[in-house]
């Protein structure tokens, strides 16, 4: 298990390094001069000011040198300073990581808590109304783009039934109750989409396992249908469900972009979008780095869970 862990960790680190390198060069090779944007047409006409700012922002060196400097500072935990506000990027990114993670974790918990039971229901009674309903919910959840789900939830729970706030953010230390109320709709939006995926996968996978010999044996030795399903079939059928969580991690994070914009949630994705509009290079790189790290760590976690459940994978 330790070897497995080491191998996966190394792969994850390489992945982050490559991804952030690509992003660095991509950003710097794309057209659009941040100096021009910061100073405006008039300010940029003074070459002395431009030169000084270029030097201050570390944009005067050749690209490879800039890259080496950037990496050198990251290793020391310094992501540079925002072009716009002058504040350290690392501080801003660190402030927003928990806010994004909060929604992701809440959404995942919802997806798993609702999706797995729904999927089992669908697999056990494929021809009954309940089974059909579970498929229908899965397909709708799966196909509904996050902004559609989100808008329908806002219309349902803050317009028709004015129960929950439609957007905004309240820091948890300021008012924990308000904080949670603001987090419910965005988390549900993420969760619904993911729930569709989980339900679908659970249903297919439980159906596959239910006809296996060992389940028949379990039934034959006198176990009840319920016990055979939950004790014997379910653990075996969860492996592909966990795998799909890993495969879909990208969608989960990608969905955050829309959801944070829709609900005005000041997380990592909205930081990234704003930084893009501002041409704030270091902020973009910092936010993307954090997003990649979260993504890779999530995949790693999924791998580890799979390794724990399925010993065969540890030696693959």
């Amino acid at each position: 298990m330790l070897m497995f862990l080491c191998r996966r960790l190394t792969a994850a680190a390489i992945m982050v390094a490559i991804a952030s390198t690509l992003v660095f060069f991509l950003i710097h090779l794309l057209p659009g001069d941040p100096i021009l944007l910061l100073l405006g047409e008039q300010g940029a006409s003074n070459p002395e000011v431009v030169g000084r700012l270029r030097q201050k922002l570390n944009l005067d060196a050749p690209l490879p040198t800039q890259y080496v400097r950037w990496v050198g500072r990251i290793v020391r935990g310094d992501l540079g300073e925002s072009f716009q506000t002058g504040l350290p990027v690392a501080q801003e990114v660190a402030r927003r990581i928990p806010r994004s993670l909060e929604l992701i974790v809440a959404g995942l918990v919802f997806a798993v808590a609702v999706g797995i039971p729904l999927g089992i229901l669908g697999a056990r009674r494929p021809n009954a109304l309940a089974g059909w309903l579970s498929s229908a919910i899965a397909v709708v959840g799966f196909s509904s783009p996050s902004f559609v789900t989100g808008i329908l939830l806002i219309i349902g729970f803050s317009l028709w039934l004015p129960l929950l706030p439609s957007s905004g953010y309240v820091p948890p230390l300021e008012n924990p109750v308000q904080h949670l109320r603001h987090a419910i709709l965005p988390s549900l939006t993420i969760g619904t989409n993911f729930m569709g995926v989980v339900t679908r996968m659970t249903r297919a996978s439980v159906m596959d396992v239910l006809v296996k010999d060992f389940v028949r044996t379990a039934r034959a030795k006198g176990l009840s249908d319920r016990l055979a399903t939950y004790r014997h079939a379910l653990p075996n059928s969860l492996i592909p469900v966990i795998a799909i969580l890993g495969v879909r991690a990208g969608n989960l994070l990608g969905g955050m972009v829309i959801i944070e914009a829709l609900f005005d949630w000041p997380g990592l994705s909205s930081l990234l979008v704003r930084a893009c509009f501002d041409r704030d290079y270091l902020m973009i790189q910092g936010a993307l780095l954090a997003i990649f790290v979260i993504f890779v760590l999530f995949s790693l976690l999924v791998d580890l869970c799979q390794g724990l459940i399925d010993p065969q994978l540890r030696h693959a």
Binding site: I18, L30, P145, L262, V273, C276, I284, S299
Partner: protein, 274 residues
């Protein structure tokens, strides 16, 4: 018999009509739209559905129905063009790298693996924010972002076909690589690629909608469903009607494409797991 047929191809009968309607709308947009999609009417903003404006009007008094109809054209053409780029490029890269073998094969497929993992929307946001917002940039960006998935699928099929007896036999009889690819590899790859195309179509459509929603897709006033949702959501508490329709249009399209993809998957490659 008809009932059995209906049951067996349930997904096709569900998705087909929606897709035909969507396609017809996109093609015949000029004939179907009751109003000019860009025509501003300051006296009639954010109207609910009525007999004059069947689906209401937006924040500038433009007819929602007309904008939806023209939006179908934008959504479909962007997604379709992007998928064409992604599939052509991906299939070519996949087959060539499986043919090249050795270091080239390894290097190409390892780098493809990295690209497949990256969440597309983040790269798309960065690119779209820095480049000029034109249709060409949008299509190219989405197409390039989805090509690695095609490359991986094409590669895995090509790599397994390469070892099949009939391919080995053809090669040993002196068939040129072009002949082998055209006669043996491509036809056998078609079904897998078709399924991949249908799923990528829905991803591309979603990505376009997402980018336009954030204000990073097509520039207004060109109508795009994602952009309509993005703008109209701010007026939700004034009138919730206008935002519902573009959202539903998106949902129905994605749903229909996904359902068609499932049907294709079941009937073209029944042995492949989902």
């Amino acid at each position: 018999m008809p009932v059995r047929l209906l049951k067996r191809h349930f997904r096709l009968f569900l998705a087909g009509p929606i897709l035909i309607l969507l396609l017809a709308t996109a093609v015949l947009a000029n004939l179907l739209a009751p109003y000019d999609p860009l025509g501003i009417d300051a006296g009639n903003i954010l109207q609910s559905p009525s007999s004059t404006h069947l689906l209401g009007t937006d924040e500038l008094g433009r007819d929602i129905l007309s904008r939806l109809i023209f939006g179908a054209r934008v959504s479909l053409s962007v997604a379709a063009a992007a998928v064409v780029i992604a599939s052509l490029l991906g299939v070519a890269v996949g087959i060539l790298s499986s043919y090249a073998g050795g270091h080239i094969e390894n290097l190409t497929m390892r780098s493809i693996d990295i690209f497949v993992c990256l969440p597309e929307i983040f790269v798309a946001i960065v690119v779209m924010a820095f480049m000029e917002n034109s249709l060409r940039t949008l299509v190219l960006t989405i197409g390039l972002l989805y090509f690695p998935q095609f490359a991986r699928v094409a590669y895995s099929v090509a790599a397994s076909l390469k070892r099949k007896e009939y391919v080995v036999a053809a090669v040993s009889l002196g068939a040129s690589p072009l002949h082998v690819i055209g006669r043996a590899i491509l036809p056998n790859m078609a079904s897998v690629i078709v399924v991949q195309i249908s799923f990528t179509l829905s991803f591309a459509m979603l990505l376009e909608a997402g980018l336009s929603f954030l204000g990073l897709g097509l520039m207004p006033p060109a109508p795009s469903w994602g952009q309509m949702v993005g703008t109209l959501k701010d007026y939700l508490f004034t009138n919730a009607w206008p935002v519902v329709f573009p959202a539903l249009a998106l949902f129905l399209s994605i749903f229909a494409i996904n359902t068609l993809g499932d049907w294709l998957q079941d009937h073209l490659n029944p042995e492949m797991p989902r």
